[in-house]
């Protein structure tokens, strides 16, 4: 199993008309993180997203996703790892019925036809839209369309979920539902949006892009309470933080970041531990399968050795549990 991180290293990109869009962009997002991407219009957010799934290819610098360096040859494979949800669900949902649309990706991945229905049901169930299965997309409400658009991507079981303005055009209730939905996902998440409250709710980490470069990178609460930084980037304090500021004086403003930083770092650590433990559990199961396979083949000594590895992996899991308890 590969470890799905996303790494941009000094990425440059120019549009055909010569205007630079990315100008030495560098960051690394590791497995299980949830990262918000914010910035003014034209800062390079969309260009960044178009690079993540290989629609655009870098002019200079490199993008590595998991164990693959993104180029013309690998982009098909990278698209299997990276699920990209587009801003406008009408662009994302291009098939005549919801079912066909959700089935589109899995079919392209070569999933057997008899297992497609199951996959589709699972993905639609996750976003709570199973009953919309046979409807045409133009009969759905905006909120339903957004949810189904996400289902079309998670049906492909990507490792990394990338979203462009997921809540634009949604009424407040649908937006709230979407936020709750996103919170539940355990994928690595990358969300580009102007909706800073959404970023605050969904993402632990936030990257500010300016002129095709990273202008700031850190825990969301720190970044999004930095009034100066935000104003420099045509952004505003999220509403949920604005009230705080009006009611309490500036002294608190200074205090919050420090506490928050510590808390956030810890939270992040806990989160990471959680994910790596999950990984470890998965690995352990795999070793066990190998052991039983070896047994079937009559290789008892190999089976015993593999079982030992399984035991050790199980031990490692309990160590993870311990560490998690202490970091909680």
């Amino acid at each position: 199993m590969s470890h799905h991180f996303v790494e941009f290293k000094d990425v440059h990109f120019h549009y055909p008309d010569g205007s630079p869009a990315l100008n030495g962009l560098s960051f690394r997002i590791s497995h299980g993180e949830s990262v918000g991407i914010v910035g003014a219009n034209g800062a390079g957010k969309s260009t960044l997203l178009m690079h993540i799934n290989g629609y655009l290819l870098v002019a200079s610098g490199s993008i590595v996703i998991g164990d693959l360096r993104l180029d013309k040859r690998t982009r098909q494979d990278i698209r299997k790892k990276v699920g990209l949800v587009f801003q406008n669900p009408d662009d994302q949902l291009f098939m005549p019925t919801v079912f066909d649309d959700v089935a589109f990706g899995p079919l392209n991945l070569g999933i057997a036809h008899d297992r497609i229905a199951e996959r589709v049901a699972e993905a639609l169930g996750t976003v709570g839209c199973l009953k919309l299965k046979d409807k045409p997309p133009h009969h759905l409400s905006s909120g339903q369309k957004s949810a189904v658009a996400i289902a079309t991507v998670i049906a492909m079981r990507p490792d990394i979920l990338v979203m462009d303005e997921p809540a634009s055009n949604l009424d407040p209730k649908s937006r709230r539902q979407l936020i709750n939905l996103l919170k539940v996902f355990e994928h690595t998440k990358i969300v580009a949006s102007h909706d800073l409250d959404l970023i605050l709710d969904v993402c632990k980490r936030c990257i500010v892009i300016k002129d095709g470069r990273v202008a700031a990178d850190g825990p969301t609460k720190n970044i999004l309470s930095d009034k100066v930084l935000l104003e420099e980037n045509n952004l505003e304090l999220p509403l949920s933080l604005q009230n705080n500021h009006e009611q309490n004086s500036t002294s608190i403003e200074k205090n919050i970041p420090k506490e928050n930083t510590a808390m956030n770092e810890l939270e992040k650590l806990n989160h990471l531990l959680h994910h790596w433990k999950e990984h470890n559990d998965e690995h352990a199961e795999t070793y066990k399968e190998w052991a039983s396979k070896a047994e079937q083949l009559g290789k008892n000594d190999l089976s015993a050795a593999l079982n030992k590895i399984y035991g050790a992996a199980k031990n490692l899991s309990s160590l993870f549990d311990e560490a998690m308890k202490k970091s909680a």
Partner: protein, 265 residues
Amino acid sequence: MFDTEFFNLGYLDRLSYQDTFIHRIDPRIKLLSSFMFIVAVVSFPKYAISGLLPFFLFPVLFLALGDIPVRFILKKILVVSPFAIFVGIFNPLLDGQPVLDVLGFTVSLGWVSFASIMLKFSLTISAALLLIATTSFPGICFAMQKLRIPKAFVAQLLFLYRYLFVLMEEAMKIVRAREMRSFGKRGKELKNVVPIIGVLFMRTVDRAERVYNAMLARSFTGKLYSTKPYALTTTDILFIIASAGLILLFRVVNVTALIGKWTIG
């Protein structure tokens, strides 16, 4: 006018997703029986009238069993009638020989053939409308694919259907913006319409680009798959046998004349 057309289209589309006995019949069966029906109706000779009447049983059954509003369908038939009327109306003008006496009035052969055209027109047009009102468009496409219509064409129909409503809405917004500032006739001249269509076109091309992106993001490699596992049910088989039988019966035997003779004695 644009608004009405748009909402009518949406309404008809919504009707097709109802769940009634007629809606549940397999699309292939409905497509085939509609074609049989139309060919049978059209195959009646120029002066047929009474023989056509029993065929009205089919649209009436579709309307009643499929919960389709009668007035809506009638209105739609009226809207498209001008061309048939335009061509047909020459028949009474050009062919004035008297042919029969109905309750004291002499009717010319031209009127008979005109009436026949209008009867056929109502029957065939309502067949098309009721087919789409009781069968979802993707269902019809599926039926076409099963009937060996080339895949490229079926895929084209499905995409067209998907973006029809999206683009109509976009066009409607542009048209509304134009109406708001055009005060009557002004603003509808060709020179003002060209940029509107041009802009709509460019937006469309951009959209195609985004859609293509979305397809690529989901591993599109140029192939469109279909997964419909439909199988014909006993009801479907019975339906096609019954409708084929009735169509044949009505075509070969003039039921109206028989009933007339039998009543009069």
